[in-house]
Amino acid sequence: MRLRVCATAFAFLVVCSSPAQGRDPFRDEGRSEPLPPESELDPAPFIAPPPDLYYVTDTYVADVVATSGPLTTYTTTTVHESTGSYARTLDTVGTGASSIYDGSAFNGRRALGDGRLVAGTYYENYVLIDAGFVPVSIVFFQDDAELARLLAEPTPPGKVVVTPPPSPAGTATGLSPAACCVATPQWPLAIPAPAPTKPIRPGISLLAASAPLSTVEVLRGRAVALWLRAFVDDREVPVRSWTLIDGEAGDALVTAGAGRVPFRSSWRRLAPPGAAYHVVFRIDVDTPETGHRTVNGTIAVVVRSPALQD
């Protein structure tokens, strides 16, 4: 009897049972169940660089040739900056030594006064894309010095010539201490003062072969082409490249280019009355006569617009 009562009670409980009426914390938000956690996208697969590649932390800026008395040093300036690129060392060459990478660096490899190539290191720059690490450019970091050059090719004492690259794409890091080739002086200490280097005079003209101008009047919105030129002793020397470094560029699409390409722009905004836009270009010259040097050329652009008079 007792067993029957217990079985009946158990059966009654089983039949009358219902789910527990717990509070639904998401009822007020119109949904009964919390949303499943959003599936997180797989992060980009990490591609480890090859063992000889390293992340660039110092970016190439310019080649520097500094002259101090009889000593001429060839160095490279960098800026501590990460551009997201990678680099690896290709070759380290000594003074006068040839390399299979000669001629492949975008900034070139200059020569000493006696014609030997300067010492330094070639680096190859890489960028990481979906397909992996892709080489983009080769840069040469020069690191050399000489003493004898001044006797044959005098340069003003204390003169520093900075020669930036034609394009700012070059990056590298890890400057290795390349072999410096300071030769043992073979002459007496009293060295005559070198004659000054011939100055390079910049010129900006509206045509490739017209007179250089310091001021130009342009009509508002009229497209004009400014040719960047350079002269040594009133003789024109080829311009390697140019870069707009200051001033109102107007509607110019390109602010740097090769020497054979003019700066093209148009100005749609008038300068204040009596004022002009002073546009400054850095002109890069690299000839056997002048070496790799830069000069700044400025032109004042006066924008005018046809108007009625009383």
Binding site: L207, A211, L213, V216, E217, L219, P306, A307, L308, Q309
Partner: protein, 161 residues
């Protein structure tokens, strides 16, 4: 009451006498307004022609000196555009637009400073000046024993500033 003291019908007589005067005054006002519109259009034509001529610069001289100079045919350009713009108002003109433009005094001062012999003005920039006499039809004035053609004198001066 005698007939002299009878004022019946006086309003009719007064209206009959004043209506022509009012109509004449109204027509004169309308004609004067039309003349002002024609003058504005002629002046705009001269202004636009001068602006177009100034906008045509001598590129060779600009490359040589860096200064804006008018082209050698600036006066011809101004005269041509003056004729074209006047042609849009030909119904108002008493003579063909080309004939009016051909008779206009168009001067182009390529270099500055320059002095205008006609007006005595000094120009500090290359300037184009158009001075023209434009005959405009004014038929209402003609009907009112005035001149049926009114001569408009326009002058437009433009230079790059």
């Amino acid at each position: 009451m005698s007939w002299a003291q009878d004022d019946r019908g006086s309003a009719f007589v007064l209206t009959l006498l004043l209506a022509p005067i009012l109509l004449i005054a109204l027509a004169g006002v309308l004609q004067l307004g039309a003349l002002r519109v024609a003058a504005a259009r002629v002046r705009a034509a001269a202004d636009l022609a001068a602006l177009v001529a100034v906008n045509d610069q001598d590129d060779a001289e600009l490359a040589r000196s860096g200064a804006l100079r008018l082209t050698a045919d600036a006066a011809l350009v101004a005269r041509e555009y003056f004729a074209r713009e006047l042609g849009l108002s030909s119904p108002l003109l008493d003579r063909p637009a080309a004939e009016i433009a051909a008779a206009a005094d168009v001067a182009a001062y390529s270099s500055a400073p320059a002095y205008d012999a006609r007006t005595g003005a000094r120009y500090d920039r290359p300037t184009v000046r158009i001075a023209a006499d434009v005959p405009v039809r004014t038929p209402v004035f003609g009907a009112l024993i005035l001149r049926p053609v009114t001569m408009l004198h326009v002058t437009a001066v433009s230079s790059p500033r």
